[in-house]
């Protein structure tokens, strides 16, 4: 296994959200699964993710939102990646990504429409996303 192990992942919390616990645990879990993690921690703007992905040559970006600000900030995120020539970078989003109680399918469809490859709204086990990432990286991203 190379020094980057399974791959390079940028993670961070979007918006003015500073929920750090999931972010810390996600870093630990990805590292324990062999990934090289670049942690942007909390309070990130959409540009931070695309810039970091470019700088670190990331394979995937995990965006999280716990306070529901995700809906406001994630709408144009994929476009920034495309503009930066990063169409092949996998985009995952997870947490509590919209304000209020809404059907999971509706939320998944909304964020899939924003160009996210995987959407985990209120998914309690972070192992699921890591398993999916390992599978997705084997296949590589084909832009829709």
């Amino acid at each position: 296994m190379s020094e980057d192990g399974q791959g390079r992942v940028v993670i961070g919390v979007i918006g003015d959200d500073i929920h750090v616990v999931g972010n810390r645990i996600m870093q630990l879990a990805l590292e324990e699964s062999g990934f090289r993690v670049f942690n942007l921690r909390t309070r990130n703007r959409p540009d931070h993710f695309s810039q970091a992905a470019l700088e670190t040559n990331a394979d995937a970006v995990f965006v999280s939102s716990l306070n529901g600000e995700g809906e406001h900030w994630c709408a144009g995120l994929r476009d920034r990646f495309v503009d930066a020539g990063l169409d092949k970078v996998l985009l995952y989003v997870g947490g509590n990504i919209v304000v209020g109680k809404r059907a999971k399918e509706e939320v998944v469809a909304l964020f899939r429409g924003y160009g996210f490859d995987r959407v985990y709204h209120q998914e309690p086990d972070i192992g699921v996303a890591i398993g999916d990432l390992i599978e997705d990286l084997k296949r590589g991203r084909s832009a829709p």
Partner: protein, 469 residues
């Protein structure tokens, strides 16, 4: 040595005050205007009166904030009708970070589209004149709930709106809520807020301050929570605050909750007295489980019920309640009102005459007290001209270390985990100056809690998610 001293009170805040109030959203607010409005606020809107009139059960405080005035008015009336003793005004996260323009834009969008684009009430955008209208026929204290490192303008507008309880503090609203807001500036800005509260207080009608003890609400050892609470009570007392509530979040262990309450109550009174602040009235507030909440509503309801029993058993003066939708985001008003009603019902049935005790509680309390005193005494011994400087230094040195704080100035060297009885134990004290004997005792109590070869992240997740699994 820089111990708390009454002479540390800011002598003159008028110059800073003019700067703070020069913001257009202060809308010409003046000292006289605030004084006049406060003079007309009913006595029952002051926490000191609510606390004096409490019966056997703890008083009830929900959280709640929505963007629009009409929405907040409905929520306030619903919560009051459901039996809340304190009514919340929870502030949105843009306002907490002083981003008033964004808050104002999203308020307008919420009003136009009839959907909530903010996770609280943008008090600065609404202003004091409109906000006074929220409370014209309310005779209960309103509590400002936020998480703002620089709350100077927010507190000015809150007090001018007739809000007599301000939650927060230089540590508790910085370390858990901010990544990069400089801690020393935050401590100074909260001196201003404390002083402002004191200047608008009289003996019968003090503006009450409350600290936020749950901190990151994630595996915070009780001794750390107690230390931070005592420090914030002393910082507020220095500025002349005379009515103050210390608080802590449900730990997940009944024994540890009983012990934490006992130590927090006794150390707060003792240190206030020792430093010459015996005229400060202190109260104990208990936060229902602040960690990861069950998604299943039945389990969330069960957890809320259990927490209510603990609130009674520890003899809390007030309990801050959660809702069954906690795991799902900002609760709907009717769900919030339901929670108040449920907790009211349980507290009335299971009221305790006095805090429960047992030899196990005494043993746990002795450990927490010994640890908290070690840390406090170490802080008092730090060099500095003022107590707040010693507090700032304590974080730089890692004497105070809050697990899972997002803040860049937090040492993150202390590691905590749950023992076999689910009490929070210090696995590695980092630089926190608890005694060798206490550190050894913590490790002994932790022995046997983890399965061999279990991944660290899974063990921490299990500990953090204990109420979900």
């Amino acid at each position: 040595m820089a111990v708390p001293r009454p002479e540390a009170a800011l002598v003159d805040i008028e110059r800073t005050r003019r700067q703070v109030l020069s913001h257009p959203l202060a809308r010409g607010l003046s000292l006289t205007d605030t004084r006049e409005h406060l003079a007309g606020v009913p006595q029952r809107r002051f926490p000191i009166t609510a606390y004096a009139q409490r019966g056997k059960a703890p008083l009830i405080q929900p959280r709640g904030g929505v963007p629009t005035f009409e929405g907040q008015q409905r929520l306030t009336q619903q919560l009051s009708a459901a039996g809340a003793d304190f009514l919340p005004l929870t502030i949105d996260s843009y306002t907490r970070h002083n981003e008033y323009e964004t808050a104002t834009q999203l308020l307008r969008r919420s009003e136009e589209e009839g959907r909530d684009y903010l996770n609280g009430y943008p008090l600065v955008s609404h202003g004091h004149e409109l906000t006074r209208e929220l409370y014209v026929d309310i005779d209960k204290p309103i509590s400002l709930r936020h998480g703002t490192p620089d709350a100077r303008l927010l507190a000015e507008i809150a007090i001018a709106s007739g809000i007599a309880e301000i939650e927060g503090g230089g540590i508790c609203y910085c370390l858990p809520y901010s990544e990069g807001f400089p801690l020393d500036r935050c401590l100074l800005y909260w001196q201003y807020v404390d002083r402002l509260c004191a200047l608008h207080s009289s003996a019968e009608r003090p503006i009450h301050r409350e600290s936020f003890g749950p901190l990151s609400a994630t595996l915070v050892p009780p001794a750390i929570a107690v230390t931070v609470q005592v420090v914030e009570a002393l910082l507020a007392a220095e500025q002349g605050v005379r009515s103050f509530a210390v608080s802590f979040g449900q730990t997940g262990s009944l024994i540890q909750d009983l012990a934490t309450a006992k130590v927090l109550r006794s150390l707060t009174s003792r240190y206030l007295r020792d430093f010459g602040f015996e005229d400060v009235r202190s109260y104990l507030v208990y936060h229902q489980w602040m960690g990861q909440f069950p998604h299943l509503r039945e389990r969330a309801a069960a957890l809320i019920s259990g927490s209510s029993l603990v609130a009674g058993a520890i003899g809390a003066d007030k309990v801050v309640v959660k809702t069954v939708d906690e795991a799902l985001g900002v609760p709907r008003p009717e769900v919030n009102a339901e929670a108040v009603d449920t907790v009211r019902y349980l507290l009335d049935i299971f009221a305790c005459a006095a805090p429960l005790g047992s030899p196990l509680v005494d043993e746990e309390a002795a450990l927490i007290e010994s640890e908290a005193k070690s840390v406090l005494d170490a802080i008092f011994r730090l060099e500095g001209d003022a107590f707040w400087e010693s507090v700032f230094r304590a974080f730089q040195m890692g004497y105070l270390d809050v697990p899972f704080s997002p803040h860049a100035d937090n040492a993150n060297r202390l590691v905590s985990m749950r023992d076999a009885h689910r009490s929070i134990r210090i696995a590695d004290r980092g630089n926190v100056p608890i005694s060798d004997a206490d550190a050894r005792r913590e490790k002994e109590l932790l022995a046997g809690a983890a399965a061999p070869a279990e991944k660290t992240y899974r063990q921490l997740l299990r500990d953090i998610n204990m109420m979900v699994a």
